[in-house]
Symmetry: C2
Subunit: 363 residues, 2 copies
């Protein structure tokens, strides 16, 4: 087996989820990630953990959704019961065909998401990590050869996460006491929000592998302005291009897209929380040097920020504070490499992709 | 998609498990059965059921078992919790490499089985079916081309199960009121047991697809004599050849095999019940015309009987009666096509493969 796959598996059970003997571990993976699953199971055996393997199968999911009546989607009691008894969740992505669910009615996709909400909530209380195994279809989506995509993935994943944590801590220390954040990029994006009282967090590859961002949660109702999404995002098997969202009192009041606008609208209509933001993230992983149409990687890139529609990242929300709730959590990426700045409480902390604590910063 | 796969899926959710709206359905399958899983999910969507998909992965299972300490195998709480909330279980076999677990220490395999026992017991209380999707590796094991193996599987599976039920009912009516059963084949097999008070049952493809047997449960302690297993069986990824077992007071007191005798011994030592019989089955599926080294098919063949080491088939055991309990249930096949007879309460009911109610029977 490829050493890089074994290293990836080690990082997942060690750095990301700290698997202990007797932990009930749920691995969810597509069959395309077979090699990583085998490497993981070896690690889990060495640690005396108790894994079970759930198969994410987009062809089956498509067939099911198309055959179902929209009104019939309901939470799956057996999946929820299993999640309640789970200590560690390892979620693996890796497409065989990234467009597999592109002919499923978006409203059915939304209904399915809503039915999964109790399971999602339960999962967020566990030690969990989401990662990606390199597949030919995902390489295709990135416009890369399979070998180059593998190289890219392992460069992003198999790294020194302690050094990464230290670098990011500088931004966390800026965001944590902050009140007002403003993000400006070109003429298209000018977004303002309060993060007052929220806890900024350091993602050095615990819940996302690769990690690489500083993030916090907007105060509900505080988001104002416009965001133009520079990198297409995938919603129900369709790519939404050039999405533009206008916020008033924290809520999306207008939206448009040049492609698959209906998928965007369906996303916003999933539930009440899907029209509001649940996260502000600042990409800081300098090992990721290009966008690849894979959000797990794109959102960690040094010259980007992202906001997420939907469910708030609860670890950033102090006890008793209000936060956004939703069955969805969809990241929207803004390029901040050129003609752009991030302002915290009136001071510029990043200009044209360079942070205030990096060489070459021009305030 | 191949019509035969769709027909197979229909039979599984309709005839075998009668899936209803809102049923929590657990599908367990290897990735080699992808096509059948997709067809099943379409059927489950049409019925408004709630499926979850568990991935049986023998490569991962092997890696895990080899890395685990034997003493560390324990029941998986999350799998058990899921099973408790499940209404219908659809188990699909289909190897990518039937010898995948052949280099796992048999004692670890036994420890893993024992740890699964609570889940097995829970599953047996559900509506469940076990079936097989045709794969190239399984064709290889049968010594057949992939196309011929597919043909064989679908001939056995996609049939008129009502007609099959009527044919088998004749044997059920003989076995149900019976006390003593004796099976003689050549010089090697002469096995006697009591089935007094047990309920004989008709397997017309409910729990096994294909079905095709009449079966009952031996009274514990009543089994006496010798059985020679004519068709090799697979134990922990190894084929056990020419197994011979001698019973006294219901228990195996001596055993031998010409190949992989240690796997047989480990099987017998799994737990107390693994040394005793939990089933007597009479194969009656005339659509299966050859043994293929696949027990699910072999045991239904018209000219065979089988006894199972391990857990008793509870549906044959009336309330309050004693029965054998074990984490295992391993079928052992005896060829009764030649130089053989089955006697029930002193009367021959099958000779050289022909039943008393078939043309050509010579009593």
């Amino acid at each position: 087996m490829d050493d890089r796959i074994q290293r990836h598996a080690e990082i997942l059970v060690d750095h990301c989820t700290d698997v202990a003997p007797d932990d009930n571990v749920l691995v969810r993976a597509p069959s395309s990630a077979d090699d990583l699953v085998v490497a993981l199971y070896e690690q889990l055996g060495q640690r005396g953990a108790r894994p079970t393997l759930s198969w994410t199968n987009s062809r089956a999911g498509r067939a099911y959704a198309r055959a179902m009546d929209e009104a019939d989607f309901r939470p799956k009691d057996h999946r929820l019961a299993a999640m309640e008894e789970t200590d560690v969740v390892i979620l693996i992505r890796g497409a065989t065909n990234a467009a597999e669910t592109s002919d499923v009615d978006p409203e059915k996709g939304a209904a399915a998401s809503q039915a999964r909400q109790p399971i999602l909530e339960e999962r967020l209380d566990k030690r969990w990590v989401m990662t990606q195994h390199p597949t030919p279809a995902d390489a295709q989506q990135a416009g890369m050869s399979t070998a180059a995509w593998e190289e890219f993935v392992y460069d992003a994943v198999n790294r020194d996460w302690d050094a990464q944590r230290e670098f990011q801590e500088q931004m966390v220390e800026i965001l944590d006491p902050a009140s007002e954040v403003r993000i400006v990029s070109g003429d298209a994006t000018d977004l303002r929000m309060s993060v007052e009282g929220m806890d900024a967090a350091n993602d050095s590859g615990e819940k996302n592998m690769p990690g690489g961002e500083a993030f916090t949660v907007p105060v509900p109702d505080s988001v104002e302005g416009t965001v133009f999404v520079d990198v297409p995002f995938r919603e129900g098997g369709r790519e939404v291009h050039d999405a533009r969202l206008e916020f008033e009192d924290g809520e999306v009041v207008e939206c448009s897209a040049s492609r698959n606008e209906d998928a965007l609208e369906t996303l916003l209509d999933t539930d009440e929380g899907a029209r509001r933001l649940g996260e502000l993230g600042i990409g800081m992983n300098r090992g990721i040097d290009r966008t690849t149409h894979h959000m797990l990687f794109d959102e960690k890139m040094g010259d980007t920020i992202h906001v997420a529609l939907g469910n708030a990242v609860e670890e950033c929300v102090p006890e008793g504070r209000e936060f956004n709730e939703s069955g969805r959590h969809v990241d929207l990426l803004v390029d901040v490499s050129e003609d752009s700045f991030i302002e915290v409480d009136g001071e510029v902390v990043q200009r044209n992709g360079t942070f205030v604590f990096e060489d070459g910063f021009e305030g």
